[in-house]
């Protein structure tokens, strides 16, 4: 939103003495060697974290980081230089370094993809500065979570609770003549419980957050729900048996199991892999890659979500991009470089971890739209299989399309009924194939609680996922019980 431009711009001007005349000068310098595009990305981040273990708030930390990255694009080439010492002298040096990329360019001149004039979004519900929880209130919150967990069951032997609050001020100045900024809040609250019974020790974790103030999590008493969930999961794991091994029908519960979409198709649809032709989804736009029940979108415009942004990290407003519509592959996720080279519009997916990183196409919030099946009917439809409701992390090999994600709460389904809990197991499948096996889609779309972090090429960015209950007809479950 335009209102954010002024504070971000003023902030960097006042703090580091960087005014618009200087920016123009540096950008002009960056373009000197027949470059196509140049931009400057200023970032100032403050973060505070507090942690509790063994009933005690032992750790607290605060950090401040700032820096600027200068990027120069020439055809397929990117020159990048960054420094954490924001001065005009350093910017000029960085511009000279970054532009050297353009020296040996050929004759190809890509068409400009258009400019970001402002963001239509105002996605972060913030109250007045200083209205969020005080340090003492944060410490009190963690102690309350510890108390809730320990009082709920004598088998809970340890509780780890932590919170982190970040505020990032960014400013992007482009050689197309625009300057745009954003102030991005991000909070996160996590709790892990360890339960013990007769030498059997198990863990349960839960958490949430988003782009808002901590007060949101206390006003809604979310912290209490997170804690009870972590306790429930730890206790449940005490009873869990060995997970089955082999291919079987799997029902995924709503919410965080949407990590399936992130791994199985999301990464494979990122523009860089597709421009290079190294994704299992390369050159497949318009083809059927999923059952007609599946419509999958990436949407960076959902208010307050962890994966949402008013602007991506290249200054492009975020938007909703349909990736798969009724089973047909519709689109890729783009940053500026890859959109330009592929001759397609920007999608607002150019993201980076910090000023020390080059932007690339990344997901925001990726989810499947709801279908019409009743969730109970989906479970009832399976004779013998797995019902997986909570997951840890996942990973994908974008070239052969094989992906994994690991359960942290799952049950056997026997004759249409959810029966015994089983230990964590990794599920493995093939991205271009797995959504073709989706035979039922529930009406219960849920987005995750706001804890996802995606890693790519050494860069971590916050993301969201979502899913209604779905049935997959056959996927490999990597347990240890080889009954068949």
């Amino acid at each position: 939103m335009a209102q954010d431009v002024i504070p971000a711009r003023l902030f960097f001007d006042q703090r580091f003495g960087v005014n618009s005349r200087d920016l123009d000068k540096v950008l002009a310098r960056a373009l000197e060697q027949r470059a196509d595009y140049a931009d400057l990305y200023f970032e100032y981040t403050v973060q505070e974290a507090v942690g509790l273990e063994e009933g005690l708030v032992k750790n607290a930390s605060s950090s401040t980081s700032n820096g600027v990255g200068v990027r120069v694009l020439a055809e397929t080439k990117t020159g990048y230089a960054y420094t954490d010492d924001i001065t005009i002298e350093n910017l000029e040096v960085a511009a000279r370094t970054a532009r050297c990329i353009a020296q040996d360019r050929g004759g190809f001149a890509p068409a400009p993809v258009g400019t970001a004039k402002g963001s239509p979004h105002d996605l972060y519900p913030l109250r007045r500065e200083g209205s969020d929880l005080s340090l003492d209130e944060k410490i009190g919150l963690l102690q309350e979570m510890d108390r809730i967990a320990r009082n709920s069951d004598g088998r809970i032997k340890n509780v780890f609770a932590s919170l982190a609050a970040q505020k990032k001020i960014v400013l992007v100045a482009s050689s197309e003549g625009w300057v745009i900024g954003d102030v991005q809040p991000l909070v996160r609250l996590n709790v892990t419980c360890i339960a013990e019974e007769g030498g059997n020790r198990q863990m349960g974790s839960y958490g949430g957050g988003g782009r808002f103030e901590f007060r949101v999590l206390t006003d809604n008493r979310d912290y209490e729900r997170y804690t009870r969930e972590a306790v429930r999961q730890a206790l449940l794991n005490l009873e869990a048996g060995d997970a089955p091994a082999g291919e079987m029908d799997v029902v995924l519960g709503p919410g965080w199991p949407g990590i399936l979409l992130h791994e199985a198709i999301g990464h494979g649809l990122e523009g860089d892999f597709n421009r290079k032709g190294i994704s299992a989804f390369s050159n497949r736009i318009g083809q059927k890659v999923a059952s007609e029940r599946c419509t999958v979108v990436d949407d960076g415009t959902l208010p307050g979500r962890r994966g949402s942004l008013n602007l991506d990290d290249e200054g492009t407003p975020t938007r909703r991009t349909v990736l798969i519509e009724k089973g047909i592959l519709k689109g890729y996720l783009q940053d500026r470089l890859n959109a330009t080279l592929m001759g397609v519009p920007l999608t607002g997916n150019g993201r980076r971890e910090s000023y020390a990183h080059i932007p690339m196409p990344r997901m925001t919030n990726t989810f499947m739209l709801a279908g019409d099946a009743a969730p109970d009917d989906i479970v009832r439809s399976v004779r013998k299989g797995l019902y997986a409701v909570a997951f840890g992390g996942g990973q994908v090999d974008i070239t052969n399309g094989k992906f994994v994600f690991s359960t942290s709460e799952a049950y056997l389904i026997e004759d249409g009924k959810v029966t015994r809990p089983v230990r964590g197991a990794t599920l493995i499948g093939s991205g271009p194939d797995v959504l073709k096996r989706v035979s039922m889609v529930g009406s219960d779309l849920k987005l995750d609680e706001g804890v996802g972090t995606c890693g790519k090429d050494g860069q971590s960015v916050p993301v969201g996922v979502g899913l209604p209950t779905i049935r997959i007809d056959g996927i490999t479950v990597g347990g240890t019980q080889t009954s068949q």
Partner: protein, 462 residues
């Protein structure tokens, strides 16, 4: 260069990172009421170039500084950090860290190491390659291009590439504490890697190879890197699923080291005192087969994980962690050691913004008597793991289930490529079931292992 802005007056001058500055900060913190504290400063210069299909794709160059401060008020503590190393910013850092440290709880185990534990001298471990500072960018580009073209030219089925990269970093670490330690060291890291893509019958595969060393002269040649990557990607073409069953599993060094990494985490004091390890209370007990001896050694000259002192100023040293299957030592920093009633093992790791945590230095499975070929030849039907994906490892229980790719072993030979399967077991049993250890150890990463054979795991596929 003249700067016309009046704001320049207000902008604080950036300071050089020195041991004197560290002492000055500690003195200032004491004046504000801190009883003791320590400072870590890191300065780095980094560069990378990626080339793809013979063209430079990205070049990145950077300079960074970071300053971290930990303060104690008696036994309560907090940490703070900044990348803005100016007087104004340091004043704020001291103030903010004091505020946080007063708010946390008094914890009798927290504090700095005792003065007599601190390193008396800073050993020269040959960690930096100063000559290679003058390596021209053109030469770095040439090396990356050569590694990639060697891979692309190796076989017509190699049709594409995710790119090749040359990278280097020079860094300097300063650590000073109010209990009397002050020291610094420099290091460098060079890397060369390539990710070729091969195609056959409409299916694509990619694989990689990389070489990472502290000395430029010790990097594998670009031809070696390219050829190794090419061979690895070619052998994956035509991969298939196999039927679910229990079989012996052989891990090549690239994947075996991840098993050793899981063990490093399980013997870390942090995990142990928190009750988050499958090896609690196992000191002096048998935790692995007698083929398993594991060492942590922070003093190996020019190795990646070497450093003269740890994140709390203690000298690093060589120690046996597992001796013929018996757990002989944990990895400890001062805090986790005190929690467990043991002295620190010099394994405090420190990043600028965080309090110390436990980390291995150079942590490796000692080589055994068997050649990798002999290990494969010992397997009638089994799986040879060349890649693992996912995070299916539970450090509390040892439960293990990960996605894998590799080669099927038939009659003692690598027969055909396999993908889209998982391997599962429990780390407690997996270490007990290590039947053979290879003689092919190369300590080129911080955590390293030779070829390893586990007698039985569950492979899940069709």
């Amino acid at each position: 260069m003249t700067i016309d802005s009046s704001y320049r007056e207000k902008i604080m001058e950036r300071l050089d990172l020195t041991q004197d500055l560290a002492q000055e900060i500690l003195v200032r913190a004491k004046k504000k009421g801190a009883s003791h504290g320590d400072v870590v400063m890191v300065e780095s210069e980094s560069f990378f170039v990626t080339v793809r299909l013979g063209e430079v794709e990205k070049i990145s160059q950077a300079q960074e500084k970071g300053l971290g401060l930990r303060l104690f008020f008696g036994h309560s503590s907090a940490t703070g950090s900044t990348s803005d190393v100016s007087r104004e910013s340091i004043d704020r850092l001291v103030q903010d860290t004091c505020t946080l440290a007063r708010a946390t709880v008094q914890d009798e185990h927290s504090g700095l190491p005792r003065p007599e534990e601190l390193a008396r001298q800073v050993a020269d471990l040959d960690l930096v390659d100063r000559e290679a500072r003058s390596l021209p960018v053109e030469e770095k580009i040439r090396l990356a291009k050569q590694a990639e073209s060697r891979a692309l030219d190796f076989d017509p089925r190699i049709t594409n590439s995710e790119g090749a990269e040359f990278s280097n970093e020079f860094n300097r670490v300063i650590y000073a504490s109010s209990s009397g330690f002050s020291g610094e060291y420099e290091g460098s890291v060079f890397g060369l890697s390539v990710v070729p893509v091969a195609q056959h019958d409409g299916a694509m595969q990619r694989d990689y190879w990389s070489s990472t060393r502290r000395k430029f002269s010790r990097l594998d040649s670009p031809d070696q890197v390219g050829e190794k990557a090419a061979r690895r990607v070619l052998r994956r073409l035509g991969a298939r699923k196999v039927a679910t069953r229990d079989v012996p599993v052989v891990f090549e060094p690239e994947t075996a080291r991840s098993l050793v990494g899981h063990l490093a985490q399980a013997v870390s004091g942090d995990s142990l005192y928190k009750g988050a390890s499958f090896l609690i209370g196992k000191l002096d007990r048998i935790i692995a087969s007698d083929a398993v001896t594991i060492i942590d050694d922070g003093t190996i000259p020019a190795a990646l994980g070497s450093k003269p002192f740890d994140g709390e100023g203690l000298a690093t040293r060589k120690k046996g962690i597992v001796q013929r299957g018996v757990l002989k030592s944990y990895l400890l920093d001062t805090y986790s050691g005190r929690k467990l009633g043991l002295p620190s093992t010099g394994n405090a790791s420190r990043s600028v913004g965080q309090p110390p945590s436990v980390a291995p230095t150079n942590f490796y499975l000692a080589p055994g008597p068997h050649s990798p070929e002999a290990i494969i030849a010992s397997v009638e039907q089994g799986f040879y793991v060349t890649e693992l994906i996912g995070f299916g490892v539970n450090s509390v229980t040892g439960d293990y289930s990960r996605g894998a790719a590799g080669m099927w072993i038939e009659g003692g030979k690598l027969a055909y490529p396999v993908e889209e399967i998982t391997i599962a077991g429990n780390l407690k049993e997996m270490f007990q079931n290590i039947e053979m250890v290879g003689n092919d150890l190369d300590i080129k990463y911080r955590v390293a292992a030779p070829t390893v054979k586990i007698s039985r795991m569950t492979v899940a596929g069709d």
